[in-house]
Amino acid sequence: MVQLKIDDDVINHLLFHKSLIDENDDAKRINYYVDMLQKANEGDHISIENPFDRSISIAFELVMRQQLNPWDIDLVNFSTMYLKRAKEEKIDLMTAGRMIYMAWKVLKLQSNDLVVSMETVDEESEEPFGWGDIPTGTWIENDDGYSYTNLVMKMPEPPLDEPIRRNAKRKVTLIELLDAFDKARVDSEEYQLIERQRRAERLRLSEKARKRMVGTAHEDHVEDDVEAVWEKIKSFNGRTMSLFELCETRGREEVIKTFMSVLFLAYDNKIRVYQKQFPYGKIYIKNMRYS
């Protein structure tokens, strides 16, 4: 196994996210990733038994080895490389495919979150004046307004001055420290109680998820799927198609299955996969025989 240097970018990336989140499971998860990075660094991922952890570990290794920018991963490219590595590592391919599918979903979710939180901030701004009497005329409502505007635009200095005020910060007082101490004790008790409940719940959910994964993985026949999708692509006679045109239905299973096959075919250079808009645009497929 090639020794990899831990990539500062990747670590920083994780730490940045950790600093953004408050606490809870997310921070724990990120700490766990940092540990895992350490293992990947030592070429130690083979010893990770849990298949999910192993596939995450491989993802880290890829990002580091290929020196991908952790802020800007081209998921199409990444997916292809990832599946190749997963194949070499003998990771259950269906699990690997699901990982990638989840990665896309998480990315999409995160961007939705971002939009939502920005909207909330806007709504918090203050609205000091009523909106009843909004003038409908032109902005040159009178001569005063016109000359004011003209003068402001021509003046070398704006008519507003920022006053100089002090910017002193004081030290924390002892009372505040003690107050904090008291609150910390209460918080800590609450936290430990909640954490116990959380642990139980996490355990229950992960058991459930694992059972579901194992149940379906055996029923899949990846090679056959790839062959079927390839036949379908050939039937388009060189015309570019979208991913959805290759799916029999729009169901989640079907889309994952088709997408997986498409990635294999792309890896074999039989087709080219691209998007016009990254990362949420439609996925297009072109048959390389016709290019």
Binding site: S125, E126, E127, P128, F129, W131, I134, P135, T138, W139, E141, D144, G145, Y148, T149, L151, V152, M153, M155, E157, P158, P159, L160, D161, E162, P163, I164, R165, R166, N167, A168, K169, R170
Partner: protein, 179 residues
Amino acid sequence: MGIKEKRLIESVLFSASKPVSINEIKEATDLPPKKIKDALETLIEDYNIERKNDTSMEIVKAGNKYAMQVKKKYADQSVMIAKPDIHSNLLKTLALIAFHQPVKQSNLRRMAGPKIYDHVDELASMKLIYSKRHGSTEMLTTTKLFPEYFGIDTTKPEEIRDFLANKVIKSISKVEDPE
């Protein structure tokens, strides 16, 4: 109103480093609001009229709050130590919005060009202006923070407009007839 209260409130204004409301002063000092108000008025008179030439600070009513700050004529030179941080082009856009408010973003663009889009974003993120969707454009007003930040003694749009108009007139007459 006792001397002691006056000194205490002076020390609060000095330490606060930002405009403070009567309520905030009440919380810090436990004095009744009436006494605080009286003390503030005497302090403003002390600093801005009686001892006008014996101090480089002034006490101003900023929106609904009160602030101690450096007088304009010393501000430029003491600037090195406490830097103001709004670019003058941004201030011009803000001066236009404050005068014409509520103003449509599209009209503002006609007044000052497309650069205002960036300015509007930045001023909104500083919470100095508020922008609200209105048909196909945005309608812009200043926020409560605006008079606080600039030490303007009113929150009323008409009075803010008068304040700005006076500033412009003063600066023109200064240029045409120095001293």
